[in-house]
Each structure stands twice: as structure tokens, then as C-alpha cells.
């Protein structure tokens, strides 16, 4: 059913769709970042598409590949009952690790983008309030990145007589690629 969505999308914005396909019944389109907002706006506003609901927004970390990250949008149309998955590739270079924010289109994107930033370190340009949402402000790094050291602990407090984990964590974080302090 959603194949028609892909057809419409490639018909209206052929320059934006880099790749599209179907996997186990789910239609997917890979979009270039420059045209992302254009595509999302079309999907939301076109009466035949009418994706009124952003059901999920997340990130996949393909460590070792280029581009390293993939931002994934799951959209659902309440009227037509169809779904689509939109993907955007993002480089790991800090200056390039961003996508435009979808908060202007769906309010639901605000917290989802904060979560994606918190756990994967992908920035969302023009987000009104891009802060950590799950981890605490003192947290260093982004824990769901594949190169975040598995054993690193960043305790806020400990009993005076509890064994210190700070040294170990500092060492682990220093060895990882993800050592930016926000």
C-alpha cells in the first residue's frame, strides 16, 4: 500500500530521493540531507500522503562506515493508514554531524530529537531547546554510540568508602573516539 507513497515521493521530488525500497513490508526512502525538510513537509502536507504523525525518530550508528550515522524517521498517516520510513545519512565529523530539526513540522520531534542528541550526539539545527533529556548534564559523551566504552561509569555521587570508578572511566573515555565534553 505504501508503495504508492514511494512512487508519489519520487515523482514529486526526484532530486531528493537517493534510494528507495521495500523490506519485509516496510517502505523506506533514503533522502539527501539538503532536501530533508522539503521531503518531510511534502509528506506531511500533501493530501494524498498526509503523514500527520511522526511516530518515531531515532539514529543508527554504523561504526566504520561512511556516512557513520543514519537518522531514521517513522511516519504514519492517520487518514490513509499507511506508513513510511525516511533515512538520512550523517557524517561523524563534528562540524557535519547534524540534520535540520523537524520540530517546525511536528511538535513530537522536540523530545525525540533531544533523545537522539543525548544518546548519539547528532545535532538538530534550529531545535528550540537542544539539551540532554535522559542523561544528566554532567555526563560526558553519548552512550549509545558504538565506540562508547562499555564499562565506563560516570557516577554523580558515591559513598566515601565505595571504591572509586572515576579513574577507570577517565581512562576508558580517553581511549574512545567519543571524548567530546559538552
Amino acid at each position: 500500500m505504501a508503495q504508492r507513497v514511494l512512487d508519489l515521493l519520487t515523482e514529486r521530488l526526484p532530486h531528493a530521493v537517493l534510494e528507495s525500497g521495500t523490506y519485509v513490508g516496510d517502505e523506506m526512502a533514503l533522502i539527501s540531507r539538503d532536501h530533508l525538510l522539503e521531503v518531510l513537509a511534502l509528506l506531511r502536507d500533501d493530501p494524498e500522503l498526509d503523514f500527520a504523525m511522526l511516530s518515531d525518530l531515532t539514529v543508527v550508528d554504523w561504526l566504520g562506515q561512511a556516512p557513520r550515522f543514519e537518522v531514521v524517521y517513522h511516519l504514519y498517516s492517520l487518514r490513509h493508514k499507511h506508513r513510511i520510513r525516511i533515512k538520512v545519512g550523517v557524517d561523524q565529523e563534528e562540524s557535519e554531524c547534524w540534520v535540520p530539526s523537524a520540530t517546525g513540522l511536528w511538535h513530537a520531534a522536540a523530545w525525540a530529537e533531544r533523545e537522539a542528541w543525548d544518546l548519539y550526539g547528532v545535532r538538530f539545527k534550529d531545535h528550540p531547546d537542544l539539551r540532554r533529556i535522559l542523561m544528566y548534564e554532567e555526563f560526558v559523551g553519548h552512550p549509545l554510540r558504538k565506540d562508547y566504552p562499555q564499562n565506563a561509569r560516570q557516577p554523580l555521587i558515591r559513598r566515601p568508602d565505595a571504591p572509586a570508578t572515576d579513574d577507570q572511566t577517565t581512562r576508558l573515555l580517553a581511549n574512545s573516539h567519543d571524548r567530546r565534553v559538552e
Binding site: M135, P155, I157, R159, D161, A162
Partner: protein
């Protein structure tokens, strides 16, 4: 008797105070996760924690003397738990309810704290994921025995309201089967196999 032994009266009085304290535990349930369902069952009519005098949950730490840590504690929650513990008046006791509160359980990741005893002293660890109500009552009875024996971690002596320091508390936690995670190995297993 008392004219022969000058410590007899205070000792008997202390025993009476301990007896009163162990049967009037006011609990503060710090419930964060699924173990809370099992705590509700323990509170309910079938298992009935009221039989042990601990039926009255106070939802203010300032009125409670038994902190029950029920569920997973994250690093972000640790300061909150610590603050709640600090707000409780002495004498006070802590029960770690379930494996997550005891050791972090099956979570070994960036966000879950490996046990509530990382930030507060714990008297009784109740294992289980979640523990059966019988296990909880077993842990509570172990705690009551410790209170009667005057072995709780912040039980002040009569006339001495100062809390014992952390260094002294460290050797006190005990599992509900009578073993302790923090005791030296030779002291871990009780000789008669019973809760001390």
C-alpha cells in the same frame, strides 16, 4: 540484681527499646520499577506485612525509619536516593528489595548504578527478580533480629544520638540468607547456617 551490676538497667531498657523499634517499622517505599508490584503484594492482605508491624508506609522520609529501595536505581537518581536517606531521622534502616537495588541486577551499562549500597548503607539485601513476598518477609525478619540484637547500622546507643560513621557501617550489611557481601570471606558464611 541492679545493685550488683550497674549496666543491668540500661541494658534491659535498651532491649525494650529495640523490641519496640523492631515491631513498629514505618516504611518509606522508594519504588522505581517493577519490584513495586511485588511490594504491593507483600503489603496486601494475603502476605500481610502488617503481621510484622511494618504495614504503615509513610510517604515522607521524615516520618519513616525503614527505607525500602524497590527497583533499579540509575546514576541520575542516586543523589535523590541519597537525599531521601539523609532526610530520615535516626535510627533508620535500609532494605534493598530485589537484585537491581542490591547489585544492579542484570543491568551492566552506562546508566544503572550497581546497587543502592553505592550511595547509602544497606542493612538487608533481598535477592530475587522480583523477590517473592516470602523472601521479603524473610528479609524483614532478618532485619528485626538485627534490630533486637542492636546491630543496625545507625542504631544509636541510649543517650548517644550521634550516628555511627560510614566506616563502621560498612561491615554490617547482611543478605537475607545470612551472608554478607561486604564482610571478609572468613566471616561471610554463618557457622550454623542460620541468619545471625
Amino acid at each position: 540484681m541492679s545493685h550488683q551490676n550497674p549496666t543491668f538497667v540500661p541494658t534491659v531498657l535498651q532491649d525494650a527499646v529495640n523490641w519496640a523499634q523492631k515491631y513498629s517499622l514505618f516504611t518509606y517505599p522508594f519504588a522505581t520499577a517493577c519490584c513495586a508490584m511485588e511490594f504491593m503484594s507483600t503489603m496486601g492482605a494475603r502476605y500481610d506485612i502488617a503481621r510484622f508491624g511494618a504495614e504503615f508506609p509513610r510517604f515522607s522520609p521524615r516520618q519513616a525509619d525503614l527505607l525500602i529501595v524497590i527497583g533499579t536505581i540509575t546514576e541520575r537518581q542516586a543523589p535523590v536516593l541519597r537525599r531521601i536517606y539523609d532526610q530520615m531521622p535516626d535510627p533508620k534502616w535500609v532494605m534493598a528489595f530485589g537484585v537491581c537495588a542490591s547489585t544492579g541486577g542484570f543491568y551492566q551499562n552506562y546508566t544503572v548504578m550497581p546497587g543502592a549500597d553505592q550511595v547509602i548503607p544497606v542493612d538487608v539485601y533481598v535477592p530475587g527478580c522480583p523477590p517473592r513476598p516470602e523472601q521479603v518477609l524473610d528479609g524483614l525478619m532478618a532485619l528485626q533480629r538485627r534490630i533486637q540484637e542492636h546491630r543496625g547500622h545507625v542504631q544509636a546507643e541510649l543517650g548517644n544520638t550521634a550516628a555511627i560513621g560510614y566506616r563502621d557501617r560498612r561491615h554490617l550489611p547482611v543478605l537475607s540468607d545470612g551472608t554478607s557481601m561486604t564482610l571478609p570471606p572468613e566471616e561471610r558464611m554463618p557457622k550454623d547456617g542460620r541468619v545471625r
